[in-house]
Each structure stands twice: as C-alpha cells, then as structure tokens.
C-alpha cells in the first residue's frame, strides 16, 4: 500500500507536468492549426537555460524569468515559419508536423553538440529540494510539491484566461472558426502569435517545475517527453483541452505505477504499450477530436 501511495504522489506530480505540456500543445493546435512536435524540446531547452542561469545565481525569480522568457521568445520566433507554411500549403497539419519534427531534431542536435558537451545536466541538490514529508516508503519532496501545486495553479490560471477573459474568448473564437472570426474583426495573426506566447509561458513554467522534479535533463529528454505528450493528446482526442487534462494525469500515474511495480526500462515500454492499445482501439481518442 505504501508503494501505491508513493507512486500515486509521484504520478500526480509528473502527470501535472504532462497536463501543462498537453495544454500548450493543444492550444497551438486549436488556434494556430499546427502540430508543434518540437514544443517539449523547447521546454527541455528552457531547462538548459535554467541550468545555465543557476550557475551564476540562485535567485529563483531570475531563473523562472529566464526560463519563461527563453521559451516564449523561441516559440514566437518560429511562428513566422509556420505562417509561411500555411500560406504555401494551406492549413495542412501533417506538413506542420513534418516541419516541427525537423525543428525537434535540430534542437536536440544543437543541444547535444553545444550544451555541456552533450552530457546530461544535473541541477543542484538544494534546487531539487529535500523531503518535506516522509513516512515509511512514502516521501514527498519539495520538487514534487512545486510540480504538483505549481501545475495545478498554472492549469487554473490557463482555464481562467481561456474562459473568463476577453483574450480567452478571442482564442476560443479562432479555434472554432477562423474565417468568421476574421470577418467580425478579430486580428487572426496577432491572436495566433498570442497562442504561441501563452504556450511558451506554460512551457517555461513547466521547464522550471520539471527541473525541480527530475533534477536532471539530457538532449534526448525532448524526444521522450514529446512522444508522451503527443500520445496523451491523441488519447484525449486531438485539441480536446479537458480530455488532455484527464489523460495527462492518467499517463503520469500509469507511468509511475509501472516504474513502481516493474523492472528497469520496461516500465516506460509498458506505459507506451497501454497508450498503443487505447490508440488502436479508439484512434479518434477517448474524448473525441476537437481540432
């Protein structure tokens, strides 16, 4: 029972990170009509930015600002590429996937050539934090607390933005019908750039929380997280934000349970196997495609 509770806490912390990534990914899919496969790779790049800033200062605010700023700037900087792509190919999400996959390879290869000589990076132990609660096998670290509660706060803020603000209404209007939205005077390009910015903000925050949760990162982490985020989005139904919330959490919990009860690297394979079975049975996702 202790293993179960410990892994449940792990799973919820990890799951909240997946939820944030799935939300950012789906927001760009709904508003900008792109499959941004490189989004988790950008988050890993922001983790490297965190690590670099941490070498000079341990000021938490500066680290968060650097991470968020880097993720927003890079995410917005690649927007013109997708805009040009949409002009040439129309809004073909398959082509956007191929391009974003190239970007993912580019980011991974640049990280493995230029950053820390390609070696994995480790965050300082006091950054990850000590255990704030411990009982038998159950331990809840500061990193897990940041990930879980920070994740919940970010999700609440995201849904508040989307459903309780004017900008949120504009984002939702474009996701429903961009042509009609442009007719009633909504600036399409500006709003799409805003969606990249919001996704970048979520990504930057996720990078900080992931750094505290995992305590390390490597260039290959982006591929790994990317596959899970995209798979969770498909499981939920592409573009389904509420479904993404459920599936992100479920994925985190399932993965942690597999790690707790199965040996070595098989745990990830089991998590992928479960996703695969659901995808094969329900290719349109558990909650229906919205994109």
């Amino acid at each position: 029972m202790e293993i179960f509770v410990a892994q449940l806490l792990n799973g919820l912390s990890l799951g909240s990170m997946y939820v944030l990534l799935v939300l950012g990914f789906n927001l760009m899919l709904l508003v900008a009509k792109i499959i941004q496969f490189a989004y988790p790779h950008l988050v890993v790049l922001s983790m490297y930015v965190c690590w670099a800033v941490l070498r000079y200062t341990d000021n938490m605010l500066l680290v968060v600002l650097a991470s968020v700023a880097s993720c927003i700037v890079i995410n917005i900087a690649i927007e013109p590429i997708f805009r040009l792509l949409a002009k040439r190919h129309g809004l073909d999400i398959n082509v956007s996937f191929v391009v974003s996959m190239s970007m993912a390879l580019l980011i991974t290869d640049v990280m493995s050539h230029l950053l820390n000589y390609g070696y994995p990076i480790a965050f300082p132990s006091d950054w990850v934090g000590k255990s704030i609660f411990s009982s038998g096998l159950i331990a809840f670290s500061a990193g897990q607390a940041y990930a879980l509660f920070g994740g919940i706060a970010a999700v609440v803020a995201f849904f508040y933005l989307l459903y309780r603000t004017r900008q949120g209404r504009v984002l939702r209007a474009i996701s429903e019908n961009s042509l009609l939205s442009s007719i009633i005077g909504i600036p399409i390009v500006k709003t799409r750039v805003l969606s990249y910015g919001v996704a970048g903000l979520l990504g930057g925050l996720t990078a900080v929380m992931l750094a505290r949760l995992l305590g390390s990162a490597s260039p290959g982490l982006g591929d790994f997280v990317g596959m899970k985020v995209v798979a969770a989005s498909i499981l939920a139904g592409l573009g389904n934000l509420k479904g993404g919330l459920v599936c992100g959490l479920l994925l985190g919990v399932a993965e942690s349970m597999a790690i707790g009860y199965l040996a070595g690297s098989w745990s990830n394979a089991i998590a992928f196997m479960m996703m695969l079975i659901i995808m094969l049975i329900k290719p349109e996702g558990l909650f229906g495609i919205r994109a």
């Binding site: 590429i81 190919h89 996937f97 190239s102 993912a104 390879l105 995209v230 498909i234 098989w266």
Partner: protein
C-alpha cells in the same frame, strides 16, 4: 572496392528502400513510421538466425520480409484509415517498445550491440538487384488502379469513398507492402553492415528518411533515387567537423525544401516534362 565506396553504396541502397517504404503509405496520406520498427525487427531476426541458427541467406531474406509484413499487418486492422497523426504515433510507440525489448535482451546484445553476423558473397550487387525488384513492384502499384485510387485518397478521403474506394483496405494494403519492403531493408542492413545497435533506430533515422523523401519529392517514387545519393554523398564529401552536424543539416534542408520547394526536386510535372522531351 574501398570501404568508403562500399558503405556509400550500401547505405544508399538501404535508404532508398526505406524511403520507398515511407513513400508508399504516404500515397494515401499516412506517415507510416512503423516501417522503422519492421526494419529493426527484421534486422535483429536476420542477424540472430544467421549467427545462431546458421540459416541460409535466401531463407532469412524471405523470413525478414515476412516479419515486416506481419508487424505491419496487425496494427493495420486498426490504423488502415486512421488520421495521419495517429499512424505517426502508433509507429513511434512501436519503435520504442521494440527498442526497449532489444535493449533488455541479452541474446540480442542489449545496449552494447549485436555483432558477428556472417558475410554473404556478392551481397552488394544482390542488394541492387532486390532494389530494382522492389522499384518495379512500386512502379506497378503506382501505375495501377490502386495507385490512382491512392492519389484520390491523398487529396480527399471522402471523395475517394464516394467514388467507391475502400479507404481502409487500400490503407492496409499500402501499410503491409511498406512493411515488407522495410523487412527486406532490415535484412540487407544486417548483412551489409554486420553489426546492429538499438540506438540506430531512433527519431534521427526517421528525420533522415523524411529529409530524403521530401527533398527528392514525395509525389513520385523517383525522387528518392535522386535525393538519397546526393545526401549520402554530401555527408562523405563534407569535412568531418561539419559532417558531425548531419542531423542539423538534414533538418534545415527539410524545412527549407518544404517552405520553398513543397513538391521536392522531382515532381509528377517534372516527370511529364522529361517524358515529353525524350519523345521529341
């Protein structure tokens, strides 16, 4: 023959086969990365059968193709007409599962690699003979009713269905055929290179194949025949310091080609023009 030329010819042949295995399902609008998993499974099976069971090459070749076909067949019942993106993720997931299985298997060398695959006489000419046979097979499909139906499915699935095309069965056929070609590529890869590493079968390989396919042109089978030797040769000609940035070069090439030359170097229009000139 120098080893540089040998590896250039070997990788060119294998990459053309693998690009064709992605080209075929892309005819119906599906990016079927499962073919990389088929290649992995066939390569390891072939290596193991040759080294441990001493099977003859012809039997291994047939078994390798069969493995590719079977691996593609089972998921195709579910993803024959699935959205492109679901097909992508199913492929990536299966690659990861297969890789994990190999990495955890001592008999297959685990993460260290699988070595000692016996040599086969005159394998390089045989590879190009098999490449020509696979090319003839794809050419026949492209110029048959199936090829024309695939062209309609690529443009609009609903129109194709209205015209009487069974979209799911067509998708299944292309996926299974692609699996067979990838199985062939896997077997040849195992014998041509002589050693196998699970790390080889990653996203980087998919990126390389996508770059070759889209640079050459994804609307005809001839595109990769042009792009693969160019991209493989470029890697050999570049200084080693630059060649180590291969993935970056491929990724940038792919982005630029898709933005500036969406059809790739060889399109259907290029072929029509070429045929017109040769007739004149």
């Amino acid at each position: 023959m120098s080893s540089v030329l040998y590896y250039f010819l070997a990788f060119t042949g294998i990459n053309i086969l693998m690009c064709w295995s992605i080209y075929l399902p892309y005819r119906v609008g599906q990016l079927h990365y499962l073919t990389v998993a088929c290649m992995l499974a066939s390569a390891y099976f072939s290596g193991f059968a040759a080294r441990e069971w001493s099977w003859p090459f012809a039997l291994i070749l047939a078994a390798g193709i069969l493995i590719g076909v079977l691996i593609s067949l089972l998921p195709s019942f579910a993803i024959g007409d699935a959205p492109c993106f679901t097909v992508v993720i199913v492929g990536l997931t299966i690659i990861f599962i297969f890789k994990t299985a190999v990495e955890n298997s001592a008999a297959l060398g685990g993460t260290i690699g699988f070595f000692g695959i016996p040599e086969v006489q005159h394998l390089l000419p045989l590879t190009y003979l098999l490449l020509a046979a696979a090319g003839a097979f794809i050419y026949r499909i492209d110029h048959s009713r199936l090829g024309r139906a695939a062209s309609v499915v690529f443009v609009d699935k609903n129109t194709a269905a209205a015209l009487g095309v069974d979209v799911k069965q067509l998708g299944m056929f292309f996926q299974i055929a692609a699996g067979g070609i990838a199985g062939l590529a896997g077997t040849l890869y195992a014998f041509l290179i002589g050693s196998l590493f699970p790390e080889f079968f990653n996203l980087g390989v998919i990126g390389t194949l996508m770059c070759m396919l889209f640079t050459g042109g994804h609307s005809t089978m001839w595109g990769v025949v042009v792009s693969v030797p160019i991209l493989e040769g470029m890697q050999l000609l570049l200084p080693s310091a630059i060649a180590s940035w291969r993935q970056v070069i491929y990724a940038l090439t792919l982005i630029v080609i898709i933005l500036l030359l969406p059809g790739g170097l060889i399109t259907k229009r290029t072929l029509v023009r070429f045929k017109g000139r040769s007739r004149a």
